[in-house]
């Protein structure tokens, strides 16, 4: 599974920037119908009934005078930076280091295709972007703290797989969709700070802790853009 994730990611990365913008001239803006963008953001995620945070990005080409964007997108929800814990009770008769109830942390991430439209709102310095991401990724739960020192020295993931029957994580297709409101900075057309609101879900998510990891997220980001103004 992870091997296919790796291959999928590598192929996307290699292909994402193939249809690049025509050469820019040496001086000043030269509007072209094909451009490039790089979006970097930090998300506050309201997924799985708790608040977490993590980085995300999107990068690719903008087409049709920046009205259509295609590229690569990814996000992460690093476990060590999100202290929220999830309690889970082991099946009857099972225990880990004498505990029948365990406190787990969670992490997750994904990478995949990014598709968006981008429209300037009249003559205002604002623009609205509607986007969708189809990612390969998901979320998992893991033993934390002293529980990561296993009683027999085996790897933690071996114990997690045994304790939870392999259902300590759920990885597959992940879908995201949302809107971004960009500020078109006067005198710096290439800089577009933005706020975003999005919904994300992993269809078929199934673990011993949660049967859904869907929810709404907000993001604060900055976009670097080359190309024609919308």
């Amino acid at each position: 599974m992870k091997d296919s994730f790796l291959r999928f990611g590598l192929a996307l990365i290699a292909c994402a920037f193939l249809p690049l913008a025509p050469a820019a001239a040496d001086e000043g803006p030269r509007p072209t119908r094909v451009g490039a963008f790089l979006d970097l953001e930090w998300r506050a995620m309201g997924l799985a009934e708790h608040l977490s945070h993590g980085p995300a990005f999107a990068a690719g080409v903008s087409l049709l005078s920046d009205h259509l964007r295609i590229g690569l997108s990814g996000f992460g929800r690093p476990g060590p930076w999100n202290p929220h814990s999830f309690d889970v009770t082991l099946p009857e008769g099972q225990a880990y280091k004498g505990q029948e109830r365990l406190s787990l942390r969670s992490d997750g991430g994904g990478i995949g295709l990014h598709l968006a439209t981008f429209w300037r709102l009249g003559q205002s310095p604002l623009a609205l972007s509607v986007f969708a991401n189809a990612l390969y990724g998901g979320f998992g739960f893991y033993l934390q703290g002293e529980d990561r020192q296993t009683p027999d020295g085996r790897r933690v993931s071996d114990w997690e797989n045994e304790l939870f029957g392999g259902k300590d994580s759920s990885i597959g297709l992940m879908l995201e969709g949302g809107v971004r409101l960009h500020w078109l900075v006067e005198g710096a057309a290439w800089l577009r700070p933005y706020v975003a609101l999005l919904y994300s879900a992993v269809p078929g998510f199934d673990t011993v802790v949660r049967d859904s990891y869907a929810g709404v997220s907000a993001a604060l980001g900055v976009e670097f853009h080359y190309g024609q103004e919308p």
Binding site: G9, I13, A23, D26, G28, F57, R155, S157, F224
Partner: protein, 225 residues
């Protein structure tokens, strides 16, 4: 895999993009100190230095090599097992491909690939390193430069077993200050989540870099790196 190689070959054939006030071609030398805290920010996972030498062509392409030596006091993972007190030596070949330039903004795609040898008192490990970076570099006046980007890094352990050690998505931010056109000091922070060893790795990577870049000859150090 074949498709990936074809994509990379096609990518490398894309013509260079123009740059505002294109600096002349030159060799670029860089030296930096590197510090990585542990995931819980309660210790040092890695500390060391890296040096790189590149040639920057007139069109903005860069080709070069980076070597890095790190002391690893804590939070080392070999074969998915945590251990302490080791060191590593890594070498990478590096290519920087300019995508576009608009006034002070430069878009670049950076590819680095190489290998690392890691040794602790108990065992040693060999790894392949591959990194893709999408970088936006902004010239802010004559002396200041800012950089932001997304980095996808893949570290594959080849021995003692074959396993993904780190598969990380990092955001990168930093700034440089040119002491003169030929000398620039800079600071960078790269941070993000990482999956490795089926979830048994450190799960996050944070790296602070403080360094200096020197353009040899008539070159300009105020370029993307």
């Amino acid at each position: 895999m074949t498709r990936l190689l074809l994509c990379l070959i096609a990518f490398s054939a894309i013509p260079a993009r123009g740059h505002a006030q294109t600096p002349p071609p030159s060799f670029l030398f860089g030296a930096a100190g590197v510090l990585r805290p542990t995931a819980a920010f309660d210790g040092v996972a890695a500390a060391g230095a890296q040096v790189d030498l590149r040639y920057r062509f007139a069109q903005g392409y860069q080709l070069g090599a980076v070597v890095e030596g790190l002391a690893l006091p804590e939070e080392i993972f070999v074969g998915g097992e945590p251990t302490r007190e080791g060191g590593s030596f890594a070498g990478r070949l590096l290519a920087m491909l300019p995508i576009a330039a608009l006034g002070p903004l430069h878009f670049d795609f950076r590819l680095a690939t190489g290998a690392a040898l890691l040794r602790t008192a108990a065992q040693s490990s060999t790894r392949s390193l591959t990194e893709f970076a999408f970088l936006a570099t902004m010239l802010l006046g004559e002396r200041w430069m800012a950089r932001a980007g997304a980095i996808l890094a893949i570290e594959l352990e080849l021995s003692p077993g074959v396993e993904v050690a780190n598969q990380a998505q990092l955001l990168s931010a930093g700034a440089g200050y040119a002491l003169s056109p030929s000398y620039m000091v800079y600071a960078l922070i790269d941070a993000g989540g990482s999956l490795g060893y089926d979830g048994d790795n450190a799960k996050v990577i944070v790296q602070a870099t403080l360094g200096m870049r020197v353009a040899l000859g008539r070159g300009d150090a105020r370029v993307a790196f």
